[in-house]
C-alpha cells in the first residue's frame, strides 16, 4: 500500500457567522497518497478551492485536522506555513499568476532560487516543452504557454505535491491537453502527488482517484484503475 501524504479529518471551514454563515467545508475526510493523481470534481461553490487552499497552506481551517507527511498543518504558524509552501508545495492557478516583469526562465528561477534542491530552470522548461520560449516575457506567450510556464515554475523545486486549481479553466481543448500532459509527465517522472480541481468531467479519466464534492463534503469517490493519457481525454 502507498504511503499517505495528506490525511484530512473532519475539516471544516466556516465563513462569516450567524445569519450569513457559509459552511464552505463541512467535515471533509480524505487521504491523498504519495505519487497519486487525484481529480476533484463538483458544482461551483462546493468547497474545492477552499480545501486546496487549506491543504496548500494558504488559508486556515475553522476546525478539523490536516496532516502532511504525518505532521499537523493546522498547528503551523505563519512563518512555518511560508516554509511549508516554499519547500513542499507547487501551485498552479487558473489565472497563471506569472510575474510580467520577468522572462519565462526568470519566472521559474524566481522559485528555484529559494528552494533546497531544485532542478535548473531550463530543465523545468524542458519538461513542459517550452525550452525555446525561455527568454520570452509572459505578454509574449499564449495563455496555454503561460500556464505551462506556471507549471514549470511549480514543479521546478521538485515539490512533494502539486496543487492545481482549474489549470485548464481558461484554455481550449488542444492547449488544455498540452497542460495536462505536462502535469501527468511530472506526476509520472518525479512521482509528485497531484491534486487537480476541474469542471471538465472528461479529465477524471487521467486520475488514479476522483473525488466528488457537494455542499462542502465529499459525496463520492471513485478509483480509476486504468488512467488514460491526457491526449485521449474527450474534452
Amino acid at each position: 500500500m502507498q504511503k499517505p501524504i495528506f490525511e484530512i479529518n473532519g475539516l471544516t471551514k466556516i465563513y462569516g457567522s450567524g445569519e450569513v454563515e457559509v459552511r464552505a467545508l463541512n467535515g471533509v475526510d480524505m487521504t491523498l497518497y504519495e505519487g497519486e493523481m487525484a481529480v476533484l470534481l463538483g458544482p461551483s461553490g462546493s468547497g474545492k478551492s477552499t480545501l486546496l487552499n487549506i491543504v496548500g497552506g494558504l488559508d486556515q481551517a475553522t476546525s478539523g485536522k490536516v496532516l502532511f507527511d504525518g505532521r499537523p498543518l493546522t498547528a503551523l504558524n505563519e512563518r512555518e506555513l511560508t516554509r511549508y509552501r516554499r519547500e513542499h508545495v507547487g501551485f498552479v492557478f487558473q489565472f497563471y499568476n506569472l510575474i510580467p516583469s520577468l522572462t519565462a526562465r526568470e519566472n521559474v528561477a524566481l522559485v528555484t532560487e529559494i528552494s533546497r534542491a531544485p532542478m535548473s530552470p531550463d530543465e523545468a522548461l524542458a519538461m513542459v516543452n517550452l525550452s525555446d520560449r525561455a527568454t520570452h516575457f509572459p505578454a509574449q506567450l499564449s495563455g496555454g504557454e503561460q500556464q505551462r510556464i506556471a507549471i514549470a515554475r511549480a514543479i521546478a523545486k521538485r515539490p512533494e505535491v502539486l496543487l492545481c486549481d482549474e489549470p485548464t479553466g481558461a484554455l481550449d481543448s488542444k492547449t488544455g491537453i498540452l497542460v495536462l500532459e505536462a502535469l501527468s509527465t511530472i506526476n509520472r517522472e518525479l512521482g509528485t502527488t497531484a491534486a487537480i480541481i476541474t469542471h471538465n468531467v472528461g479529465i477524471r479519466e487521467i486520475a488514479n482517484r476522483v473525488f466528488y464534492f457537494k455542499d462542502g463534503k465529499i459525496e463520492d469517490m471513485q478509483v480509476n484503475d486504468h488512467p488514460i493519457s491526457p491526449s485521449k481525454v474527450s474534452w
Binding site: S49, G56, L58, R79, P100, I114
Partner: protein, 787 residues
C-alpha cells in the same frame, strides 16, 4: 442610490487614507496662498488704516530753533492740509534697576487740543494735561519692556536737569511703530523710548518759548511732495533746517515698510511655488490612482456605460476628494492667516487689526488645485476609455522589458530575481518612474525652498555681526568733538581699544535720483569695523572718495569713478562733489564709507569724531555703564551682543514665523505625496507580490521587492530635489530682490541634508505602512479574483 454612485462611496471608503493624504496635499497648497497673501494684505490694510485714522505725517522737517509764526507760510505751501509744529528733543533716562543707559526723545503734544498730525492712540490711561511738567505718556513698547504702567515714575535728564516724570498713559503712534535709537540698527524697546509731554512744558524746559524745532505735516491727495520739501527747506534754512524729508525717509516708516516688503516677498514668491507644486503632485497622484482602475473602466464600458458616464464617475471621485481638500485648505488657511495676522499685528504693535477676506485668493487657489486634480483624473480616464474594453480589462500589456540584467551576462549572475523585478518594473514605465521620482524630489525641493531663508539670515548675521561689525560696543557722542576725545573714552573702565568715527547725514544726488545716506568716516587702521567689498574681501577706506554699498550704487546708477553730489544735511546743506572709488557689500542700510581724514576735510571742522567703536572687558561693564551715565557727552552706548539679539528677534518675528509655517506645510505635503506613491505602487503590484507569497517567499522577501523600488526612487529623487531646490531658492532670492532690499543667496549643506532627511523619514514611514499591508495580504482573496 444608483449602483455607480454606490461604487463611488465604496471606492472612497476603500482608499480613505490615500484620499485624505491627497486632500491634505491640496489643502496645504491652498492654505499657503490664503494664509500668507491674506495676512499680508490684512497687515497692509491695517497699516494704512492706522496711518490714515491717526493722521501720519507725509513730510517731516526739523530745525534748530524756528519761530512759531512760520506756521502760516508753511500751511500755505501748495498741497499742505495740516501742519503741526512741535518740540522734539533727546532725553537721557535714569531708570531704576537698569544698569545700561537708556535714551529717548521727548515729543510735544499740543495743549488743549488734539494733534492734527501724528495723533497718538491711547492704550492705557490718558495724555498729560497741559502745563503739567511731571506728566508723561510713553510709547507702549517702552512701557512693556520696563513693565511700567500708568502711575509709575522714572527720572530723566532733560536739558541737563534731572526730573521725575510720572507715567499717565501708554500710547501708540503711527510715527513710532518702530522706535529706533541713535546709532542702533534695530529697535531696542528697552534702551530707547518716546515720551509725550505737554508742549508748553517742553517749551519752557528747552527755552523754546514761541519757537519749534520740528514739524510734521499732512498733504492733500495729489500734492507735489518735492515742491513741499523744497518750500520747507527754503523756509527753514535761516533757522538751521536740516532738510525736509518725506515718509520714505522717516525711520519708523522705512523700517516697517521694509518688514512688510519682506513679508510681501515671502507671501508672493514661496506660496505660488507651493500651490503649483501641490497641484502638480495632486495631478500626478490622482492620475496614477485612476490608472489603477483601468480594468474597472474597461468593465464598465463593456457592460454599456458610455465614455462620458465613466469619465463623470471618476471625476466625481476626484471632486469629492478635492472638496475635502478645499474645505480643509480654506478653513486652515483662513484660520492660520488670522492667527498670523494677529501675531504680526502684535509685533508691529498696531492698535487694531483689519482682516481682509480675499475671495480672489480662495477662487484662485481652489481653482488651480481643482483644475489640476480633475485634469489628472481626466488624463487617466481618457487614456483608458480610448482603449477597447477588452484590452482595458486586461492588465496593461507589459511593454517589452529591456534585456537589462540579462542573465547570460556573467556580471549579473549574482543579482537576485527580486532586484531584477524591482528594476525592470521601474524601467518598464520610464515616464511613470520619472514622474514618481519628480514628485518625491519636489518634496525635497519644497523643503529646501522653505528652509533656506534661515541660511541666508545666518549668512547675513555672520556678515554684519562677525565680519563687518567687530566691536563690543559703539558709543555716540552728543556732538562732534576733537579727536582727542578718544583718549577720554580710552580712560573709561574696561575700555581696551577705541576707534573713533565720524558720522554725518547727507543726501546723495546722481542724475534724477536722490537718496538720504549716512556717511561714516573711519580711520585707515580700523579693525573694529571691517568694510567688505562685493566679493566679501576686507578693504581699507580709501584716502579720498567714497565707498558706497552696491545696493545704493544700483539705485543711483553709480559706478566707481562717477562723481556724486553730496548735500551735507548737518552742515548748512552745503553741496560737495565726491568721487565714488569703490563698492561695498551691505544687506541692511545704505551707509557709505570714507576715511576719517577725508570726511573731516569735507566737513571743514577740523579733526573731529562723534562716536567710536570700542572693545571692552565684559567684567567691567557695570562700572562702564555707571561712568557713561555720568558722562554727558556720551548719548548712548550700544552693545553689539544686544544688537545681535535684537536683530535676531526682529528676524524671528518677521521671517521665522512665516518660514516655520511653510516648513510645516512642506512636511505635510511630503508625507502626503510619498505615502501615496508607496500605496499606489503597492496596489499596482499587489497581485504579483501575493503570488510570491504563495510560492513560499517570506514577508520580508516580498516586501523587499517593493521597498527596493521605493528606495531607488527615493535615492534618485534626492539629487534632483537638491537641484530643483537650488533653482527655486534662486528664484525666491531674485523675487525678493528690490532696489531697497536683497537677501544673500546661500544654501548650506545642512539644509539639503535636512530636506533629504525629512523625505527619507517620510519614505521609511510609508515603507513601514506598506510593509504592514504586505504582511496582512489575504492570499486567497488576491488569487481568487483576477484583479
Amino acid at each position: 442610490m444608483r449602483a455607480l454612485d454606490k461604487k463611488l462611496v465604496y471606492d472612497l471608503r476603500r482608499i480613505w487614507a490615500q484620499a485624505l493624504a491627497i486632500a491634505l496635499v491640496m489643502a496645504c497648497g491652498v492654505a499657503t496662498i490664503i494664509l500668507s497673501i491674506g495676512s499680508y494684505r490684512s497687515l497692509e490694510e491695517t497699516r494704512s488704516a492706522f496711518y490714515e485714522r491717526y493722521r501720519f505725517g507725509s513730510v517731516f522737517a526739523s530745525a534748530v530753533r524756528a519761530p512759531l509764526t512760520l506756521k502760516e507760510r508753511i500751511a500755505s505751501l501748495p498741497g499742505v492740509s495740516a501742519v503741526e509744529l512741535r518740540i522734539m528733543q533727546p532725553v537721557l533716562l535714569d531708570v531704576p534697576l537698569m544698569v545700561e543707559p537708556a535714551t529717548g526723545i521727548a515729543v510735544s503734544i499740543p495743549d488743549h487740543r488734539e494733534a492734527l498730525v501724528n495723533k497718538v492712540y491711547i492704550r492705557q490711561g490718558r495724555l498729560p494735561e497741559s502745563g503739567r511738567p511731571d506728566e508723561v505718556a510713553v510709547l507702549e513698547t517702552f512701557a512693556d519692556a520696563h513693565r511700567f504702567t500708568p502711575g509709575d515714575s522714572f527720572e530723566a535728564i532733560i536739558n541737563g536737569k534731572k526730573r521725575k516724570l510720572t507715567i499717565v498713559g501708554t500710547v501708540l503712534s503711527p510715527e513710532f511703530v518702530y522706535a529706533i535709537g541713535p546709532g542702533d540698527m534695530v529697535p531696542d524697546q528697552k534702551r530707547f523710548g518716546v515720551f509725550y509731554m505737554s508742549a508748553s512744558v517742553l517749551r519752557a524746559l528747552y527755552d523754546m518759548e514761541g519757537a519749534f524745532d520740528d514739524l510734521s505735516l499732512t498733504t492733500l491727495r495729489n500734492a507735489d511732495l518735492g515742491r513741499i520739501t523744497e518750500g520747507l527747506d527754503k523756509i527753514l534754512k535761516p533757522y538751521g533746517g536740516s532738510g525736509a524729508r518725506s515718509r520714505e525717509d522717516q525711520l519708523s516708516h522705512a523700517f516697517l515698510d521694509n518688514e512688510l516688503t519682506e513679508l510681501k516677498a515671502m507671501a508672493m514668491i514661496i506660496p505660488p511655488i507651493f500651490l503649483f507644486v501641490s497641484a502638480f503632485l495632486v495631478n500626478m497622484i490622482l492620475s496614477r490612482l485612476i490608472e489603477l482602475e483601468r480594468e474597472q473602466v474597461g468593465l464598465l464600458k463593456a457592460i454599456g456605460y458610455s465614455d462620458v458616464a465613466v469619465g463623470w464617475h471618476y471625476t466625481k471621485l476626484v471632486l469629492a476628494i478635492g472638496l475635502v481638500g478645499m474645505v480643509i485648505g480654506v478653513i486652515a488657511g483662513q484660520w492660520l492667516g488670522l492667527g498670523l495676522t494677529r501675531l504680526y499685528g502684535r509685533f508691529f504693535t498696531f492698535p487694531f487689526l483689519i482682516f481682509r477676506h480675499s475671495v480672489d485668493l480662495f477662487l484662485l487657489a481652489t481653482g488651480v488645485t481643482m483644475l489640476a486634480a480633475v485634469a489628472g483624473a481626466a488624463r487617466a480616464v481618457y487614456s483608458t476609455v480610448r482603449l477597447p474594453p477588452a484590452v482595458a480589462m486586461q492588465p496593461p500589456a507589459p511593454t517589452q522589458y529591456r534585456s537589462l540584467f540579462d542573465r547570460s551576462k556573467r556580471r549579473f549572475q549574482r543579482i537576485s530575481r527580486r532586484t531584477i523585478m524591482s528594476t525592470r518594473h521601474l524601467l518598464r514605465w520610464p515616464l511613470r518612474t520619472f514622474l514618481t521620482t519628480l514628485g518625491t524630489s519636489l518634496s525635497v525641493t519644497l523643503l529646501v525652498t522653505a528652509v533656506f531663508a534661515f541660511d541666508s539670515i545666518d549668512y547675513m548675521i555672520d556678515n554684519i555681526f562677525f565680519r563687518t561689525e567687530r566691536q563690543d560696543a559703539s558709543v555716540s557722542l552728543v556732538k562732534a568733538l576733537p579727536l582727542d576725545a578718544q583718549y577720554s573714552l580710552r580712560g573709561l573702565p574696561g575700555v581696551k581699544r577705541v576707534e573713533p568715527f565720524r558720522a554725518t547725514l547727507t543726501k546723495f544726488r546722481h542724475g534724477e535720483t536722490e537718496k538720504r545716506v549716512p556717511i561714516v568716516g573711519i580711520s585707515n587702521d580700523s579693525r573694529l569695523l571691517q568694510i567688505l567689498d562685493v566679493e566679501q574681501n576686507p578693504v581699507k577706506p580709501p584716502n579720498s572718495g567714497l565707498m558706497v554699498p552696491d545696493m545704493l550704487a544700483r539705485q543711483l546708477k553709480l559706478r566707481p569713478g562717477d562723481q556724486v553730489q553730496v548735500e551735507l544735511l548737518e552742515h548748512n546743506n552745503r553741496v560737495v562733489s565726491v568721487p565714488v572709488v569703490g563698492l561695498v557689500s551691505s544687506y541692511v542700510g545704505l551707509t557709505s564709507y570714507m576715511s576719517l581724514k577725508s570726511l573731516n576735510r569735507l566737513l571743514r571742522e577740523g579733526d573731529r569724531m562723534n562716536g567710536a567703536r570700542i572693545r571692552i572687558d565684559a567684567s567691567s561693564l557695570p562700572d562702564l555703564y555707571q561712568e557713561v551715565k555720568q558722562t554727558p557727552v556720551i548719548t548712548s552706548i550700544a552693545l553689539l551682543d544686544v544688537s545681535l539679539q535684537k536683530f535676531r528677534e526682529t528676524i524671528r518675528e518677521n521671517i521665522t514665523t512665516m518660514t516655520t509655517l511653510y516648513v510645516v506645510l512642506a512636511v505635510i505635503i511630503t508625507f502626503g505625496v510619498i505615502y501615496n506613491s508607496a500605496r499606489i505602487q503597492l496596489s499596482e503590484r499587489a497581485r504579483e507580490l501575493a503570488s510570491l507569497r504563495v510560492f513560499g517567499f517570506t514577508r520580508g522577501e516580498v516586501s523587499s521587492v517593493l521597498l527596493t523600488e521605493l528606495g531607488i526612487i527615493t535615492l534618485l529623487a534626492q539629487p534632483l530635489g537638491w537641484l530643483l531646490g537650488y533653482l527655486f531658492a534662486w528664484m525666491v532670492v531674485k523675487g525678493f530682490e528690490s532696489d531697497l532690499y536683497r537677501i544673500p543667496f546661500v544654501i548650506s549643506s545642512e539644509t539639503f541634508a535636512n530636506a533629504s532627511l525629512v523625505v527619507i523619514v517620510a519614505a521609511v514611514v510609508s515603507a513601514l505602512i506598506v510593509r504592514r499591508r504586505i504582511d496582512r495580504f489575504d492570499l486567497v482573496r488576491v488569487l481568487k479574483t483576477r484583479e
